[in-house]
């Protein structure tokens, strides 16, 4: 599903996708949404962004589905852990990846207990996304 190969051109083309995949970015920080949006756009064009966990839950409840959901931990209205639990209770089986600006080692158990598949420290990088896609490829 997530193939090999990366563009070495200065203007990076979509990397490593034999098939399109959809991504939802959930973060209250507009800087992070912009950076993660630009990062993910190197891998796919199917990207949506929302500002908090409640918007993510409402979007999924309305019928939208995503292959990968990148979700921040600390957000107003509904945080990432609450949203993850809600999404899993709804039967959403997307790959949910937690992102945090806190120390990851102390947060990892919370993320996994909530139902997330993976977690990273913010900000994401191209290497982290490649590593995630490679892992998903292996598991699929």
């Amino acid at each position: 599903m997530f193939g090999k190969g990366a563009s070495s051109s200065k203007s990076m083309e979509i990397i490593g996708s034999e098939k399109k995949f959809s991504v939802l970015i959930v973060d209250d920080d507009p800087i992070i949404r912009k950076i993660h949006g630009a990062l993910v756009s190197k891998f796919t064009t199917e990207i949506q962004e929302v500002k908090n966990g409640k918007e993510a839950v409402d979007l999924c409840r309305s019928g939208a589905s995503f292959d990968i959901i990148f979700i921040d931990k600390k957000m107003p209205i509904m945080n990432g852990l609450e949203a993850t639990k809600e999404l899993r209770a709804m039967g959403v089986n997307s790959t949910i990846v937690g992102v945090t600006s806190c120390d990851l080692s102390s947060e990892r158990n919370d993320f996994i207990a909530a139902g997330q598949n993976q977690c990273y420290e913010k900000p994401l990088t191209i290497e982290k996304i490649k590593s995630l896609l490679s892992e998903l490829n292996k598991n699929n």
């Binding site: 200065k10 990076m12 920080d29 800087i31 950076i35 913010k122 900000p123």
Partner: protein
């Protein structure tokens, strides 16, 4: 000044920002994300950081000025500033925030005020440096040249 000279000056200037610890690798990550479809990406992200940082610094200043300081609130602001400075690679600002959070945990007003002063200095320093960097880039483009890409390690 001819384009080649301006490009070399830009590379040396950018390198100096990394050597002095003002910027870290995250800034290079941002530059890697800029392309023809997103030609002003770095300037846009850094502009968001400037807006965010100045608001947060004002909020922190007001919060520390109160008779009874709400340290959890101050800590929340500092945490946010740490996050946004880390996002753009403003290393010294980020490190200042890490130290500041320790003083918040101790509920140490004097230490917090000293940290705030330090972070403000570092913020305005990186702001001036980045604005100078963007001016250099604009001069190169205006002269018909292209902005050279930095290597991820040097």
């Amino acid at each position: 000044m001819e384009v080649g000279q301006m490009q070399r000056r830009l590379i040396e200037y950018t390198k100096s920002l990394f050597m002095e610890g003002i910027l870290d690798d995250q800034f290079l990550q941002l530059q890697q994300l800029q392309d023809e479809s997103n030609p002003d990406f770095v300037v846009e992200v850094v502009s968001l950081f400037f807006q965010d940082a100045e608001k947060l610094l004002n909020d922190i200043t007001r919060a520390l000025d109160l008779q009874s300081v709400d340290f959890p609130k101050v800590d929340a602001h500092v945490h946010q500033l740490k996050g946004s400075s880390a996002s753009v690679g403003a290393q010294r600002v980020k490190n200042g925030c890490i130290a500041f959070r320790n003083f918040c945990e101790e509920q140490n007003v004097d230490g917090s005020l000293r940290c705030l002063q330090q972070i403000k200095q570092e913020y305005y320093h990186v702001k001036n440096k980045l604005e100078a960097l963007f001016r250099l880039e604009q001069q190169i483009v205006a002269a018909g040249g292209s902005v050279p890409m930095m290597e991820l390690s040097f």
